[in-house]
């Protein structure tokens, strides 16, 4: 997409939005036990036997594992005997609309959607195959379907590994697992005072990647939305971002190398709270080689 086309589309990405605090004060564990029971885990009355460490709390019962991830308060529940497991024969035939319907129905039954607004986003399929050495592989079979429901807030969608509910179904169409990575939105810290200009965003992107637009990368698409990070990442605020889908290489890419595409995210509000992404080069001590051969 050339600069003028991008410029024409840029203003349409702006919308009334806020910067929200993430509510860390809510203790999810009691709710999580009830959620597990609704999901079929027959957890006896009394103090549940949680195990855990600094990353997560886990409750294991009847081949199910319920995990609460501390950094995000995300919840995941899986049937270890069936989630992402291949029985060797099944081949699921389910359309996307059927899968979305099932996901919304099950997520609603479990109370995963709470007061938030989620919309169908993507149906994924887990395919399996095998072969004996020297023989042709068997035809792939679909052994699991994972449906992503994306959160919406203020009319904006969510970007990132969080801000979603994922529902997994096995060959018989029943639920084999689910996760909710949707931090509880607290009070408004500030209304967005204005949206950053295209030039400002491109300059920040060039500086972060240490690349120049056109010669090193091109912008294939631009979107806006609220950013929510994954299960193991701390996040203090929910705020709007621009997501730039970039094609790397530009004129300098060798013919043999595959094109690399990345998505880069930058804060969208003039009064944003940054940074959003890790520093480009984290300081990781390296091991000297044992041999200089």
């Amino acid at each position: 997409m050339d600069y003028n086309t991008l410029r024409q589309r840029w203003d349409a990405l702006m919308a009334p939005a806020n910067i929200y605090d993430v509510d860390h004060t809510l203790e999810p564990l009691d709710d999580a036990v009830e959620l597990a029971r609704r999901a079929g885990m027959a957890i006896p009355a009394g103090e549940p036997p949680w195990t855990g460490d600094e990353v997560s709390m886990r409750l294991e019962h009847d081949a199910h594992t319920l995990t609460v991830y501390r950094p995000s308060r995300a919840v995941q529940c899986v049937d270890n005997g069936r989630w992402q497991v291949d029985d060797g024969t099944s081949d699921m035939r389910i359309s996307d609309p059927e899968a979305f319907d099932a996901a919304v129905r099950e997520a609603s039954r479990l109370g995963l959607l709470e007061q938030d607004d989620f919309t169908p986003f993507r149906v994924t399929r887990l395919r399996a195959s095998s072969c004996i050495r020297g023989h042709s592989p068997r035809e792939p079979r679909v052994v699991d379907v994972g449906v992503v429901l994306k959160r919406q807030l203020d009319g904006l969608g969510f970007e990132g590994q969080g801000g979603n509910v994922v529902m997994y179904f096995g060959p018989d169409g029943s639920l084999t697992g689910f996760e909710r990575v949707a931090r509880r939105v607290g009070k408004v810290r500030a209304a967005v005072s204005g949206w950053r200009s295209l030039d400002d965003v491109l300059t920040e992107t060039e500086d972060h990647l240490r690349m120049r637009r056109d010669s090193d990368f091109t912008v294939a698409q631009a979107r806006s939305g609220y950013l929510e990070l994954g299960r193991l990442q701390e996040q203090a605020v929910i705020q709007p971002v621009y997501v730039l889908a970039l094609r790397l290489g530009g004129r300098n890419r060798g013919r043999e190398e595959p094109e690399r595409r990345i998505e880069h995210v930058v804060p969208a509000a003039l009064n944003n709270i940054g940074p959003l992404v890790p520093g480009a080069e984290p300081d990781i001590p390296q091991t000297p080689r044992y041999s200089a051969a």
């Binding site: 600094e54 997560s56 992402q84 497991v85 291949d86 060797g88 994924t124 399929r125 887990l126 395919r127 399996a128 195959s129 095998s130 072969c131 004996i132 050495r133 042709s136 592989p137 068997r138 792939p140 994306k150 970007e159 990132g160 590994q161 979603n164 994922v166 990575v181 990647l209 240490r210 690349m211 950013l227 994954g230 299960r231 193991l232 990442q233 997501v243 889908a245 790397l248 290489g249 060798g254 043999e256 190398e257 595959p258 690399r260 595409r261 998505e263 995210v265 992404v277 890790p278 520093g279 080069e281 984290p282 990781i284 001590p285 390296q286 091991t287 080689r289 044992y290 041999s291 051969a293």
Partner: protein, 248 residues
């Protein structure tokens, strides 16, 4: 269950005078950083953590196939139980490194994986397997590397994790740390990779794939679904069959 591990990453420009011409992606270092941090906090034993000019193609290649290969040495990938590489790849051909030690490409055809210590290999790169015929690609690319060597014919690593076609780097840098955390908590290795590496948002969709070896298809399938870090002490496994699954 503590295991030995190694981490390589390539976030820099290619070394001069090599055949590689990939674009440097600094954010790849954040993926590797997540692996290192999680493996350390989970009590695993670090053997090496190396980047860019310090990670060599010869570390991946087996000496019986490539005379310069040193996969069996202390610096080689077959000296650790779990190896994680984050960087570039030439589809169905090689991992591409930002170093020049007998070239920049670690050719898959020159690897013989898991004949010593290696049990699980993550190639977080583009084109470890290529579509659209994923199964044909798995069979073509990964049969030889799981073929064993003269000391251990038809024996190999337990599970290989990689991507079909492009692996999208970007602001989702958490997959390495999630994978390391999940397997440390006892999740099956293949399942942990599929869970950590599939993209929940964006127009660009990662297609993670896990490939397991076994004496027959049923055993490979069982290992793919159930193989955990705790199983690594059993040593190399028979590789007369492979089973794989991928999310798309």
């Amino acid at each position: 269950m503590s295991v030995t591990y190694g981490v390589h990453w390539n976030s820099a420009a290619p070394a001069p005078e090599t055949s590689c011409s990939f674009v440097s992606i600094p954010v790849i270092a954040s993926v590797a950083s997540g692996v290192v941090s999680a493996m350390q906090s989970m009590g695993h034993t670090k053997r090496f953590v190396r980047a860019n000019e310090n990670a060599w193609a010869s570390d991946y290649e087996h000496p019986e196939v490539a005379s310069t290969g040193q996969s069996l040495t202390e610096d080689g990938i077959d000296s650790v139980a779990l190896m994680y590489y984050a960087g570039h790849g030439l589809p169905e051909v090689s991992a591409s490194l930002a170093s020049n030690h007998f070239g920049c490409r670690a050719f898959y055809s020159n690897m013989r994986l898991g004949v010593r210590e290696l049990r699980w290999l993550v190639l977080d790169l583009c084109g470890g397997v290529a579509g659209p015929d994923v199964s044909a690609s798995v069979n073509m690319v990964w049969s030889d590397p799981t073929n064993g060597d003269s000391a251990r014919p038809l024996e190999a690593l337990h599970v290989l994790c990689t991507f079909v076609d492009e692996s999208f780097a970007g602001f989702d840098t958490g997959r390495g740390g999630e994978f390391a955390t999940f397997v440390s908590h006892g999740a099956p290795v293949g399942s942990a990779w599929l869970d950590a590496a599939f993209a929940r948002s964006g127009a660009q969709t990662n297609m993670p794939i896990a490939i397991a070896c076994g004496s027959d298809e049923a055993e490979a399938r069982f290992r793919l679904d159930n193989g955990r870090l705790a199983d690594g002490a059993a040593g190399p496994v028979p590789s007369r069959s492979m089973a794989w699954k991928w999310r798309s």
